[in-house]
Amino acid sequence: MFESPTIAEFLADSNLHSTLPATLLLTWTLILVLIDLFAGEDRAHWTPVAACIGLGISFLASLAVYSPAEGERIALYGMFIADAFTGFLNMVILVATLIAILMSWDYLNRADIHRGEYYILALISSAGAMFMVAANDLIVIFVALELLSIPLYILAAFRSIKNDGSELSLKSEESGMKYFILGAFSSAFLIFGAALVYGATGETNIPQIFSVVGAIAGGTSAATFYLLIGVALLVVGLGFKVAVVPFHMWTPDVYEGAPTPVTAFMSVTAKVGGFAALLRVLVTGLSVLVLAEGGAAVWQATATIIAIVTLVLGNFVAISQRNLKRMLAYSSIAHAGYIMVAVSAAGTAAVNDAATQSALIYMMAYMFTNLGAFAVVMAIEREDGSGGEIDDIIGLAKTRPLMAMAMTVFMLSLTGVPLTAGFVGKFMVFASALQAGLFGLAVIGVLTSVVSAFYYVRVIVNMYLRDGSGDLQPALETPYVRWAINIALAGTLIFGIFYPLATNLVGMVSIA
């Protein structure tokens, strides 16, 4: 029988303090439930304010715990890993959540769907993402993924009923339902994949999978066979979460129907969490899964194909979208494709770390830019959720010049024009692809970004160049939305202009 450890022993053995950023946020969320319960209706703003405080605390904890100099630390008996990778992505997630909450207050009141649970769910979800980026075990990946996803299913359907009980939007209901069913479906793939990998290797812990795979790779035993199927299923499951082709079908409908701040939030956190898990599993766990000695990992070819079809489909279909949210949905698919280019490059042994770093930079750039773009779309939407068509922004430069300018920067950044964060991201991703010897992939990547210029520039055309005026909403937004836009704008420009900043931040990341 086990002897149950004392609390002091447990704290020492489990290295619990390394998990503080995520656990603090989760604990704070539980306190938030109480705050929301006792705040009452006339103090409804307490909940978002308290949520922001929680994010701040977690951010400070992140800064304190993940000083890159300390290297990596294992916590919770090998389940949880705190390294530079975790620390960096934690901050990306926290900033994303902050921007999303700033957007939400205004939106929820405008649509009369303000309920305190919203912030609680958002915080749980972002805590889930934080666990996911730190997951060192297939089981934790699965649990964290559910923690990340289940609140998102609810949030996606948040617009369906108003506070007064009247029905608001069927689309939001559809969005939540669709996301839930497909999400559950993909979780099943993930867990089945994990089971097969466990069957083949006898391990769920990623570093230990690494050592076992080294022994069985290249053989023709049944273990290799199950391992390959297991890895494929893991890729399918996570591919759903990050919305790469061909697992992207749910994205446009869910993104369009969900409340705009939720769309913005999940387009970032779900992708960050998913890609983090993907990188951990593939690079840390399975980089030795090679067919020939010294060759690239087996999954590189798969990742390359996924990247190519994602880039092509995402960018080309985005051209024909008239609704801004749908367009951004397809564009987010395309951006998942660019991150996938980096994942694919990470399959070459010498480029593991460089490619991982470039993926992280890309995610950060994408986070700022995409949230900013969604914030602008949200600010011009009407109460009933209409007004987000591409023709509705005609003349925005005249009515709201600052917002139009910000949107221009976001569009240029999504295109990858220099002096914006998007360029730095693309630059790093393509550089690592070239270093991995994936020339064709890099060329397809740059060519599809020219295609993407077509639909991003169309937004600028409508704001600045078209005469007349679309069906514009008078400025209704509160200062909070403007703050959300400003933070996103500042991030996009600062990391774009001073790009050593970004490369220095991820310089210590190494997960191979």
Partner: protein
């Protein structure tokens, strides 16, 4: 090793940003009248700064001058660390093109002083902000010697130009602006791949060696394991190796760079964005586009294609020069067929830049010097032609040649100026255009890499230039006045219009009569490039 002292190049480069900052803090409504003055003053100060550079410039030195280099980022990619540095400096070619930029800029700002576009479209503040941004990025392209920073400046020029065409252009402006953006972006992004490859393999993005760090140019020469052209053919070129063209990395990199530059120049058949962009752009936009932006392409070819990939250059020279000749003839021919004055001038650019391309790929001193001078000449005379077209349009509100006629009678001074500029553009001896074209033809005739036929057909272009420009002059300025204006006062040139022409006329004569000043500037820099190609 870094050369960190603040250099004059940096000051010149960032002066437009100072103007931009001032403009940013001005109120677009209440201080409307002052906006143009701030922009104009900034561009004049920048011009004087570049003249100061010229005074400091030592034409006999073969290295870059007024250099500043600060390491900016060390990007670690896998096992290698790649240096990105802020590295500016000028040689003769850069110097001349910086001068051209800062020279064209105040002129084009003067040209928009009295313009009617602001009554229609407004947003004067934004207009001047974009002009400042454009000047900054154009100077940047010419002085920066780090591939990545070069790429940044190169791409940034797109944004202000896109808006200049798109907001203040004429009827089809949106189509033209989007086309311009997509075309140039498609080209330059392929260059990005080539840049990344070169940087990756060399471990640095600095093109030239500075302060102990070896630059890309030297490193590329030492790449191992490549069947280079010299290896296959030998400097004497006994046998042609067809495999080199498509089988070597170097050749592909050459093409990666070339596509970006060829679209910008534009080399036939990549020219189709140009007539649209030129015709739809506002006057200042056309002037800058023709005056400076197109030269970024030819400059890029000289700076990067020739320096980095001499073997590939030799292998591709006849092909590209052939496209240049096709451009000369085709541009001239299509130009002759135009009824629209602005389109005529636009196509003439295709023809004139064809000369530059032929000159560059003659790969000898005359050709390269002529090409560089022709870049400047074309900037001045075609810039002038676009100013003329702009002023005509401000008065008559039409670009159709059939609507004009007899302008000389009512506007004698304007007619005289236009004649001089047209003659300069067609290459009349004694004026600047002649010097460039003549030297290029001389170069192509003596070239080891091009044959006699290139010279022959290029010369045809000179004759054709006379045909279409004289046709334009005849239709617009001679004959009876077809459409009198409502008031006599409109026939007068305003002071700002006159002021815009004065420097152009001065330069046309100066470069025509005393070209030795400019040749001297280029001698050493050109020789160091040509040394790569001496057989």
């Amino acid at each position: 090793m870094d050369v960190t002292g603040l250099s004059l190049t940096t000051i010149t480069l960032f002066l437009p940003m100072v103007g931009l900052a001032i403009l940013l803090f001005m109120n677009g409504e209440t201080q409307k009248a002052n906006l143009k003055w701030v922009a104009f003053a900034t561009s004049v100060v920048t011009f004087f700064a570049s003249v100061l550079m010229w005074i400091n410039f030592d034409p006999s030195a073969s290295d870059l001058q007024m250099v500043q280099r600060n390491t900016w980022a060390e990007i670690s990619l896998g096992d290698s660390v790649i240096n990105v540095s802020y590295f500016v400096g000028v040689d003769g070619i850069s110097m001349l093109l910086v001068l051209l930029t800062t020279f064209i800029m105040p002129i084009s700002i003067l040209g928009s002083f009295g313009s009617h576009i602001f009554e229609e479209r407004g947003r004067e503040k934004l207009y001047y902000i974009f002009l400042m941004l454009l000047e900054w990025s154009m100077i940047g392209v010419f002085v920066v010697h780090d591939l990545i920073i070069f790429y940044v400046f190169w791409e940034v020029t797109l944004v202000p130009m896109y808006f200049l065409i798109g907001i203040w252009g004429s009827e089809e402006r949106i189509y033209a602006a989007v086309k311009f953006f997509l075309y140039t972006m498609a080209g330059s992004i392929l260059m990005l791949i080539a840049i990344l490859y070169v940087g990756n393999r060399s471990g640095t993005f600095s093109t030239y060696s500075a302060g102990g760090d070896i630059g890309v140019i030297e490193r590329v020469r030492n790449w191992e394991g490549e069947g280079t052209y010299w290896d296959a053919v030998g400097p004497e070129g006994e046998s042609e190796d067809a495999g080199f063209l498509f089988n070597s990395v170097e050749s592909w990199l050459f093409l990666g760079f070339l596509v970006a530059f060829a679209i910008k120049v534009p080399i036939f058949p990549f020219h189709s964005w140009l007539p649209d962009a030129h015709v739809q752009a506002p006057t200042a936009g056309s002037v800058i586009l023709a005056g400076v932006l197109l030269k970024m392409g030819t400059y890029g070819i000289v700076r990067f294609n020739l320096n980095l990939f001499p073997e590939a250059t030799v292998a591709w020279a006849p092909t590209i020069a052939f496209l240049g000749v096709v451009g000369i003839i085709y541009g001239a021919w299509v130009s002759y067929a135009q009824d629209n004055v602005k389109k005529l001038v636009a196509y003439s650019s295709v023809s004139h830049l064809g000369f530059v391309v032929v000159g560059i790929f003659a790969l000898n001193a005359q050709g390269l010097q002529g090409a560089t001078l022709q870049m400047v000449n074309h900037g001045i005379s075609t810039g002038g032609l676009f100013l003329i077209v702009g002023m005509l349009y401000e008065r008559w509100h039409t670009k159709e040649m059939a609507d004009y006629g007899g302008v000389w009678k009512v506007m004698p001074l304007f007619g005289g100026i236009s004649l001089v500029i047209s003659l300069s553009s067609m290459g009349l001896p004694g004026l600047n255009g002649f010097i460039g074209e003549f030297t290029i033809l001389l170069g192509s005739l003596g070239s080891d890499y091009l044959g006699f036929a290139f010279t022959l057909f290029a010369t045809l272009g000179v004759i054709m230039a006379a045909v279409y420009l004289l046709k334009m002059f005849q239709h617009v300025f001679m004959g009876e006045l077809k459409r009198p204006l409502s008031s006599e006062a409109l026939y007068k040139l305003s002071w700002s219009e006159k002021a815009a022409f004065i420097p152009i006329i001065i330069m046309i004569f100066w470069m025509g009569i005393q070209p030795i000043v400019f040749f001297n500037m280029l001698d050493v820099s050109v020789d160091s490039i040509v040394a790569l190609f001496v057989r």
